[in-house]
Symmetry: C2
Subunit: 252 residues, 2 copies
């Protein structure tokens, strides 16, 4: 690969889950928001918002939903929201109907706007010497999250981000070799799980080094295990929550 | 904001839609794939793939679907795929059922993995002096795209990316002021469209400078106009296509 400050930063990404007990400065926050706002946006509709959660009660509520002790603790908690409410307000205040705002198509565009912005914030944060972890766990209970944050209809909190001054130095997590994820012209139909033998060993070694006392499985054993079988209960309330929020109403 | 090479790069993002007639080098491609592969991944399930489309027939097919002349022309075309097929293969070849692979929850996680990776590739590309444009338009006809690319069940092409050596220098597109997109603790309920008056003027001026002969509207006029009302026909086949692909089957 070609090395420069930015490509090295991206290729050396680690999720950080332990932070020093210090909040971001206003300047740091503004930098992260600026990175988000300059992200590509579908049809220039700018359909995302960021909620910076500093209220201790709200932080505790999100932490309980995420069920991860570092969420809303040290560092700052940002919630990235697919936001069709703002554009609905624009249309309604101009005397118009909601147009296509309730379609799956526009909802997906908003989700894409939002997730692209998340990654720009992660990269910007890391370039400032900060660390971050993307929090899919905030949607362990989508309805509870929307309620805890007091979000209006036509919004959906897609991902959270805990960001702050790193208080750990994790090893780089080994990713699938590129030949398993990048293809030319044809999606391969000859995948063999046995081809992942070497990679499985690499992942196993990574976990053994990270914590010799805690047994964590190889990649294929993770995919064949409880990550894809355990009953996540309220995570499956997602479709219903989106419906309640007035989103993707044509999905059936 | 705080300036460094990476934050400046992100804050100065422009979508590039005109490229020199030169393909990426292997080294450049590997750098982009490496950036993608080191992106955060939900539960470490690495549920995305990239298809590099170099075949002229396939490029033409995608261009026709996207209905944009620069798609699959100069530069390189990448299609980013939410990929649950690979993990299904792992499970099936190990004698297991599909577990939660057909749920909305896992599908959304795959979409998030994929879109985060897209942004890392954009940023990496720009750091190499390349330009890129994210292509939501590849899903103007989701079923046709899946067919044209020969994608298996449990995959979904989320976004495309046209990337190459820039052959234009567009102005920076003015984004919504940060106070409209980033909030502390409470999502604002007092949005007034009239508050966007100044921003509307900025956007109007941007378009006037970009192309004095072509009238493009202010932000609020775009939101109140055909972007959210025109009948996109096949884009609304999205939910059905996902169902056909075996994705998010619990959505109803």
């Amino acid at each position: 690969m070609i090395h420069n400050q930015t490509t090295d930063l991206i290729a050396n990404h680690r999720s950080i889950r332990a932070f020093k007990p210090q909040a971001l400065t206003e300047d740091q926050l503004t930098t992260l928001y600026t990175a988000a706002s300059h992200t590509s946006s579908s049809m220039f509709m700018q359909q995302f918002s960021i909620l910076h959660v500093t209220d201790e009660q709200k932080r505790a509520a999100v932490r309980e939903i995420a069920n991860q002790p570092y969420v809303g603790k040290d560092g700052d908690l940002l919630i990235f929201i697919a936001d069709l409410h703002r554009n609905q307000q624009i249309r309604q205040q101009l005397g118009l109907d909601d147009g296509r705002l309730h379609t799956t198509d526009i909802f997906f565009q908003a989700v894409e706007d939002t997730v692209l912005a998340v990654q720009n914030v992660v990269t910007a944060a890391e370039s400032l010497g900060l660390g971050a972890v993307v929090l899919g766990s905030v949607n362990n209970d989508p309805a509870a999250l929307v309620k805890a944050l007091g979000l209006p209809k036509l919004t959906f909190p897609v991902l959270g981000l805990q960001v702050g001054i790193p208080d750990q130095e994790p090893q780089l997590k080994p990713r699938l070799p590129l030949n398993f994820v990048a293809f030319e012209n044809d999606y391969p139909t000859d995948f063999k799980v046995s081809d992942l033998k070497d990679y499985d060993q690499v992942v196993q070694t990574y976990y053994d080094l990270r914590d010799a006392n805690r047994r964590i499985d190889s990649f294929t054993k993770q995919i064949s295990g409880k990550k894809l079988t355990a009953d996540p209960a309220k995570r499956d309330g997602l479709a219903q929550l989106l419906r309640d929020q007035g989103l993707a109403l044509d999905w059936q």
